[in-house]
């Protein structure tokens, strides 16, 4: 029975207006037996691809359209009849979106008149008055035969009269009436959620929303029979829905992606051009001549590319890389197609594929009908240049960033629903606090009870239930970090483009999955901090050491580099500097490049959840026999000793082991990663585990493989990515090992990035024998620099840059450096020549940057303060006459003797202004209070199992999601760092201390595995109060009584000061 098609459907991509997912609506229409359904979101096509995918699966027709609310008072539904009209609709929406700030739109009647050809319009009048008749008439005159008038029956009491009036209006305007139900939800049961969405939108609570809510739940998809009953006497209106659906046959499948022409400007066929570039590149990559195997590989890959017609894509990527290289911007490709011989020869990657033995078919295959995937990482500080290049080269009407759909997470859902349901902010906060992660899993009632809320109390139960339903709803569109779509024709005829929050950025309404579903290519232009650091390091090697390297030419497989990594000496090294990686390095003992590839991929949620890490280590260390579940899987798993570690392997297992087709395996991965709907996962689980068991595999192994795919879905790490990352690991480790000063300098100049703060980077550099010198207005630039270290036998010392000084602006530092000449003799000289005023001088003084003038920090502050007051009093610059006489024109300044700083005070002042101190570690000054504690440096000499105490500043606290409530803390003292493990039971007892202490004393049992040392805490003591006594200390010896500090104000807790001075990185 298909005698009705609903044509006014608002999905949840009309944010806070629709209460059902596009797929739910489409499936419901299908189950009602309707042949098609229209989707008309508000001035948006953001949800249309999901509807399209669902409609194809459910085998119902989708009528693609949108609702346009015009600023000059008219609302219409617009349905394009063909591809050209779709392009016009898309442009119309773009027009409205680009005019308005992000998330809004402004369209006028004249826009519709200008772009409306080929669109079927259904007018939604507010009222049945003359104005509505006139508007309808005007539209009808412009597009005769394309205009309809909407009629409703919402069970509001006087519907039949209203419908009769509407029919009269239609007859008067000679426009057919069409029956609609303004659908907001796929079924009646969504009414509570719809009401809540209304409250969120209107910023009111359910109790005072009043008439803003609908009186009933009639705006759901109805059966043809129901509609027929409601529109009795208006049968033509029902028939017109079918008429419109049959007129508007446009399908998203008609969108054909076309590559831009620019890839071969001279008209040379792209494939030939790609081949030329590849062979030319091969010559420079392999100066000694091509080996037969490389030659075969290249020919093979080029053949496959030709077969699939992907040459323009590779050329587009190549163009970006060439641009970056011309501008001296370091970049590297990764992704499924990146680690190919072709990409290596084109300079897109620097990993020689012959070192890796990756099969190209795995990245591009005819079977998996999906475009190749190459992400390019650029230096994070210079990526914007590349983006602007893309806009310049292709124009904003042909290039755009893809969108990211920001969805309700469990926590934000509880927050918004709780607020809408009128719960107090406090209760909402408590409830939201009980939600972990992104899951849509129901909140555990026991948890709720624990914070003193009764989960069975009706309101609370409603909030929890509706919040769970809201989780996963799109909330707004945001821009993808760097996914670009570039087209040959106008991009805005492909999909609407809207403004991003960031000025100068525009975003396509579709996200990565939408584009994938339609086979539209995108290129990811990403930013990577480590590339900035490496680029800066390379520049320093060129300028100071006269060594010229790039990613591909640094010496390979340097044993000293691996020695260093085996010792977990990896602060600052890409990827392997985290605590988990540091703990893993000594066990893994990487000895070659492929070990690094594994290292990068293994310490990740996927392998950890799949419980693959320990078996791999045991096999690697020869504690367990290497065996393979089957001979077929041996080929898949040989490289990783029988343990699946990479995404590709997991997919292969599904294919080889469970009998999936390649596209099924890929759908499985996608199901995990993106369309995370409960239900579909179970189907895959049965299919995979069942399939493997049926083929004679161990059920336990099958289960683990599946769990790992689950983990991969969210944090996928394919081998090809790992290989590109591993190269950066090697390069950064090599630089750290061979040129520690240059590496530390580059690292500091690329901050903020990485896991460690400047204090730890500086400390690590000093531990490696680098002389580090303080920032100074006469010696430092904004960035850190290398200067010749006379004492250090001709090596370079690291001079900290003025950037380390908190509160100093880059412009001020640059001008101070530029106007320096032969140096400044006093503050007045800076004031005169660089024009820096009092507050800036004060900031410099706080950073103790006047040392070269012979001024202590206090002297500098005292001197600078005068300039501050001068500005405040409106004093002009000194007159030239006085200046010549060396007089600042303010009269003489009586000398004042300021008390000298104690070492402790100086350290505090250093931390305050620079976040680090080159003088002493605070713990060195407090050491006498911890005579019994073992220093971090001595831990390696302590017997495992010993009960000892350590004390130190808290550097970081972590509670990894994979560690089931265990807290990891890192303490730092003057000799190094100590790793603390706090089990949940101990944590509950020392909760406050664990969470807030800045200076911690921990007692517990020492555990050691190789060189990995942990202290299992059983007692913790908060010693933060001692930091307040730091000022009085001059050495580690007891402070003398005379220097007793002023009593702190009684209202101030000593921890406040510690918190400001020694912040830790918590729970990132």
């Amino acid at each position: 029975m298909t005698d009705y098609v609903e044509l006014q459907v608002t999905t949840n991509f009309s944010f806070l207006r629709g209460a059902s997912h596009p797929a739910e609506l489409v499936l419901r229409a299908a189950s009602l037996g309707q042949g098609a359904v229209g989707v008309s979101d508000r001035n948006s096509l953001a949800g249309i691809v999901r509807a399209h995918v669902a409609a194809k699966e459910a085998k119902v027709g989708l009528v693609v359209g949108a609702r346009l609310d015009l600023a000059d008072g008219l609302s219409v539904l617009a349905y394009p009849v063909d591809r050209a009209a779709y392009g016009r609709l898309s442009r119309l929406i773009t027009l409205g979106r680009r005019r308005a700030p992000k998330g809004e739109y402004i369209l006028y009647r004249k826009d519709v008149l200008g772009h409306g050809k080929g669109l079927v319009f259904i007018v939604l009048p507010d009222d049945d008055d003359d104005a509505a008749a006139a508007q309808t008439g005007a539209l009808c005159a412009a597009f005769p035969g394309f205009v309809y008038l909407a009629g409703y029956n919402f069970c509001r009491g006087d519907d039949r009269r209203a419908l009769a009036r509407r029919a009269k209006l239609a007859a008067h305007a000679s426009v057919p009436l069409v029956a609609l139900n303004d659908v907001r939800m796929h079924e009646r049961a969504r009414r509570p959620l719809l009401d809540i969405l209304t409250c969120i939108r209107e910023k009111c609570t359910i109790d005072n929303a009043g008439l803003r809510l609908d009186a009933n739940a009639e705006r759901h998809l109805k059966s043809a029979a129901d509609m027929a009953r409601l529109f009795r006497g208006h049968e033509a209106a029902l028939a017109h829905t079918l008429e419109i659906a049959s007129r508007c046959r446009f399908s998203l499948d008609e969108l054909r992606y076309e590559y831009p022409d620019e890839v071969s400007p001279d008209g040379c066929p792209p494939q030939r051009r790609l081949a030329e570039l590849t062979w030319a590149g091969a010559k420079s990559r392999y100066p000694g001549g091509l080996s037969p195997s490389v030659k075969t590989q290249l020919e093979h890959e080029l053949g496959l590319i030709e077969e699939l017609d992907y040459a323009p894509y590779f050329l587009t990527v190549h163009d970006l890389v060439r641009f970056a290289r011309e501008r001296d911007i370091l970049c590297q490709g990764r992704g499924s197609a990146a680690n190919s011989a072709v990409c290596y020869c084109l300079g897109i990657t620097a990993v020689d594929p012959s070192r890796l033995d990756l099969l190209f078919e795995r990245f591009i295959s005819a079977e998996r009908d999906e475009p190749p995937d190459i992400d390019i990482d650029f230096e994070h500080e210079r990526r914007e240049e590349v983006i602007q290049h893309i806009y310049q080269k292709y124009g904003r009407d042909r290039a755009g960033l893809t969108a990211v759909v920001i969805r309700y997470r469990a926590r934000s859902a509880i927050r918004d629903v709780g607020k809408a349901m009128g719960l107090s902010a406090d209760t909402v906060g408590l409830l939201a606090g009980q939600v972990h992660g992104r899951s849509g899993d129901p909140v555990d009632n026991a948890w709720v009870r624990e914070v003193g809320i009764d989960p069975d109390q009706p309101r609370v139960a409603m909030v929890l239930a509706q919040a769970q339903r809201l989780t996963g709803f799109p909330r707004h569109l945001s821009q993808h970090v760097g996914g670009f779509v570039i087209t040959r024709g106008r991009l805005d005829e492909l999909a609407p483009i809207e403004n991003a929050a960031m000025a100068g950025r525009t975003v396509l309404e579709w996200n990565k999955d939408d584009l994938d579903a339609l086979g539209i290519l995108k290129i990811d232009v990403l930013a990577l901090g480590m590339l900035s650091c490496i680029a800066k390091g390379f520049a320093l090697l060129r300028s100071h050491y006269a060594k010229s390297y790039d990613l591909a030419t640094i010496p390979k497989e340097d044993p000293a580099v691996y020695d260093m990594l085996c010792q977990a000496d990896s602060i600052g090294v890409f990827q392997v500097e985290s605590r988990a990686q540091m703990a893993f390095l000594p066990r893994m003992k990487p000895r070659n490049f492929y070990d690094l590839v594994i290292e990068v991929a293994i310490v990740r949620p996927g392998p950890i959840q799949g419980d693959m890490v320990h078996p791999y280590l045991r096999r690697r260390n020869g504690e367990e026999r290497v065996e393979y579940p089957s001979e077929a899987l041996r080929r898949v798993l040989e490289k990783t000793l029988g343990i699946p570690l990479f995404q590709e392997q997991a997919m292969r297992i599904a294919i080889v082991g469970a009998g999936f087709t390649a596209s099924q395996a890929d759908r499985l991965r996608r199901a995990m990663a993106t369309f995370r709907h409960a239900g579909t996962i179970h189907g895959f689980r049965e299919k995979m585990v069942g399939g493997m068991v049926a083929r004679g595999y161990n059920a336990d192994f099958a289960e683990r493989c599946f769990r790992q795919i689950e983990g991969f879905g969210e944090y996928g790490f394919p081998e090809s990515h790992a290989a590109s990352f591993a190269l950066l690991v090697y390069v950064s480790a090599w630089m750290k090992r061979r040129y520690p000063a240059a590496f530390a300098c580059a690292l500091l100049n690329s901050q903020p990035m990485g896991f460690y703060a400047p204090a730890q980077i500086v400390r690590d550099a000093r531990d490696h024998g680098v002389a580090v010198r303080p920032p100074d207005v006469n010696l430092s630039n904004w960035d850190c620099t290398l200067e010749l270290d006379e004492a250090g036998g001709g090596d370079y010392a690291l001079r900290l840059g003025l950037r380390q000084i908190k509160g100093l602006k880059r412009d001020d530092a640059d001008i101070a450096a530029a106007m320096r000449g032969n140096g400044y003799g006093d503050l007045a000289a800076i004031w005169r020549r660089a024009g820096l005023d009092g507050p800036v001088l004060e900031v410099l003084a706080r950073g103790d940057a006047f040392g070269s003038m012979g001024l202590s920090r206090r002297d500098g502050l005292w001197a600078a303060r005068r300039f501050v007051a001068a500005v405040r009093n409106g004093a002009a610059k000194p007159l030239p006459l006085f200046e010549a006489a060396g007089d600042d024109g303010w009269g003489t300044d009586a000398p004042v003797a300021l008390p000298k700083m104690t070492l402790g005070e100086a350290v505090i002042a250093d931390y305050t202004a620079l976040r680090l101190s080159l003088r002493a570690h605070p713990m060195a000054l407090l050491r006498r209070n911890f005579a019994a504690a073992v220093t971090a440096g001595d831990l390696k000499n302590t017997a495992p199992g010993a009960r000892i105490a350590v004390a130190g500043l808290v550097l970081a606290r972590q509670r990894p999601g994979t560690a089931k409530g265990v807290i990891f803390a890192t303490l730092e003292d003057e000799t190094g760092t100590a790793n603390i493990i706090v089990w949940p039971k101990i944590f509950e007892r020392f909760r406050r201390i664990v969470l807030t202490a800045r200076l911690l004393k921990v007692r517990g049992e020492l555990q050691r595995e190789g060189i990995v040392i942990h202290l299992i805490a059983d007692h913790l003591e908060d010693c933060s109060g001692l930091l307040a006594t730091l000022a009085a200390r001059d050495t580690g010896e007891p402070a003398n009584a005379a220097a007793k500090p002023p009593p702190p104000a009684r209202r101030r807790h000593p921890r406040d000061q510690a918190r400001a001075l020694f912040p830790s990185r918590d729970f990132h």
Binding site: G157, A215, L861, R866, A869, D893, I993, H1053
Partner: protein, 488 residues
């Protein structure tokens, strides 16, 4: 306080909630000012949290200032959390004969405040500045600085004790000038060149080199009329006449300012020092002497004039803008019926309210709810004008039956439409025309109810009824029908 939960108040700052104030238990638990609430909860999940209320804090301080009037009339606020008392010549009035004087007064003050539940710290000194410093930074919570000993007492305190702003105190500490003694020892000229005159002034105020006046708190009532009598009066008539003069005077001033009074306070000063106060309120700002006089009517008696009243004051304590209204010739059915009602009702509300209490007066108003029985709500008569009126459709009966009355549908079967006939109060009604349904779903967030389908029906006799089906129509089961109201 053992076992009590930590108490903190919060203020919003940049989208986060920060701890604005905390009690001793909270401090013991590790909470601190300026922490985010999330952190505080992580540390002490058992905390009792409430939003800070600066207005209430200020009001409380204000009440304390008034209360401090029992020690000296010369009382003033010192910042947001302190009070200055000028105790010159007052101290000897406190304490036992054996220990009269400053320690007794100071101790008494702190003890009483503690009794009220405040953590108080007090100090007495030669200058307000020194007392402030000792109270905030001294070791003792009840310090008495003997005359002439100020400099010695202050020497060891941090410079912040001089009431310097945080930035100045911070900079001084950074250059090593941490304590007041160091500051005193410095040459004044370079100090002033760097920090302006403020530091020196605070230093001199604390030491007494510069006099600092405490301005006592004065009630601010710009609209106030005063009348003093040559001879004390005692007769009610005389007082009423006095009130009339005061009202005329006051209303003239209100008129000039374009304002009207919402609250009036009449104060009668008896010759023996007793004070009698009478207050009235008005529903709308008013400045018509006759109307205001009526509000006082009946409230002037019932007090003892004693030896007579020597002065009267009348103060308008709450005033609002009141623009003059042209002519009052309002015709019923005019374009502004709501205003007409309001104009007309206000004097009635005032008179009733001042007699029986405004809190007992209510009026009915429209309430935005789809459920008919919830679409009306009683509101305080003094509440602002309704901002909500019912939409013109759907049409509803003027009065509803409460509760709706069961009717019997004939025949009982349900086809989805209205019944052909129904029986109500033992009378049969044959339905002639019907319109509907108006489907109203229950307010699901309150309690589970049933959807109702309302029909406006007219019977063959011309009677118009509003009936509804309770629940969804079911082909095999008779529906329950109710009559909810009658039209016309």
């Amino acid at each position: 306080m053992a076992g009590a939960a930590p108490l903190v108040t919060t203020r919003a700052a940049g989208g986060r909630l920060l701890v604005a104030a905390l009690d001793g238990v909270a401090e013991q638990a590790g909470l601190a000012l300026g922490m985010t609430l999330a952190d505080a909860r992580a540390v002490a999940p058992e905390s009792c949290v409430m939003p800070a209320d600066p207005t209430a804090d200020a009001a409380l301080l204000d009440r304390l200032i008034s209360w401090c009037g029992r020690y000296t009339p010369w009382v003033a606020a010192a910042g947001l959390d302190g009070i200055f008392l000028d105790a010159s010549g007052c101290a000897h009035l406190f304490g036992t004969p054996a220990s009269r004087g400053e320690p007794a007064m100071c101790g008494d003050l702190v003890r009483r405040l503690k009794g009220f539940g405040f953590a108080a710290s007090a100090a007495m000194a030669d200058t307000p500045g020194a007392a402030w410093a000792m109270a905030h930074y001294g070791a003792d919570n009840c310090a008495i600085i003997a005359p002439g000993k100020t400099a010695a007492a202050l020497a060891g305190l941090p410079v912040a004790a001089l009431r310097l702003d945080a930035a100045t105190a911070g900079t001084l500490a950074r250059v090593g000038v941490a304590r007041i003694a160091q500051l005193c020892a410095m040459p004044r000229a370079p100090l002033t060149a760097r920090f302006g005159a403020g530091v020196g002034r605070r230093l001199d105020q604390a030491s007494g080199a510069l006099h600092e006046a405490i301005s006592p708190r004065m009630p601010v009532t710009p609209f106030r009329a005063h009348l003093a009598f040559a001879e004390p009066i005692a007769l009610a008539d005389d007082i009423e006449r006095g009130l009339d003069r005061l009202l005329k005077d006051l209303c003239r001033r209100l008129d000039r300012a374009g304002r009207g009074a919402r609250r009036l306070a009449l104060t009668l000063y008896r010759v023996d020092g007793e004070i009698i106060e009478r207050q009235v309120g008005a529903a709308r700002p008013a400045r018509d002497p006759a109307h205001l006089a009526r509000l006082f009517a009946g409230r002037l008696g019932g007090f003892d004039p004693g030896f007579g009243v020597e002065a009267m004051t009348l103060a308008a304590q709450g005033t609002e803008m009141l623009t003059p209204v042209a002519g009052t010739a309002l015709i019923p059915g005019d374009a502004a019926p709501a205003q007409f009602c309001a104009e007309d009702l206000a004097p009635l509300i005032d008179r009733l309210g001042n007699r029986i209490g405004f809190e007992k007066l209510v009026r009915l108003g429209a309430h935005p709810s789809h459920l008919p029985e919830r679409a009306v709500r009683a509101r305080p008569a003094l509440a602002e004008a309704m901002d909500f009126v019912w939409p013109p459709t759907p049409r509803r009966p003027l009065r509803l039956l409460a509760p709706p009355e069961r009717i019997e549908a004939i025949p009982p079967g349900d086809t989805g439409g209205p019944p052909a006939r129904f029986r109500w109060r033992r009378a049969d009604h044959r339905i002639h025309t019907a319109e509907g349904p108006e489907r109203i779903a229950p307010e699901w967030w309150l309690r589970a109810g049933k959807t109702r389908d309302y029909w406006r029906v007219e019977d063959t006799q011309g009677g118009c009824f509003w009936i509804y089906r309770h629940g969804v129509a079911h082909r095999d089961r008779p529906s329950q029908w109710y009559l909810h109201g009658l039209f016309g």
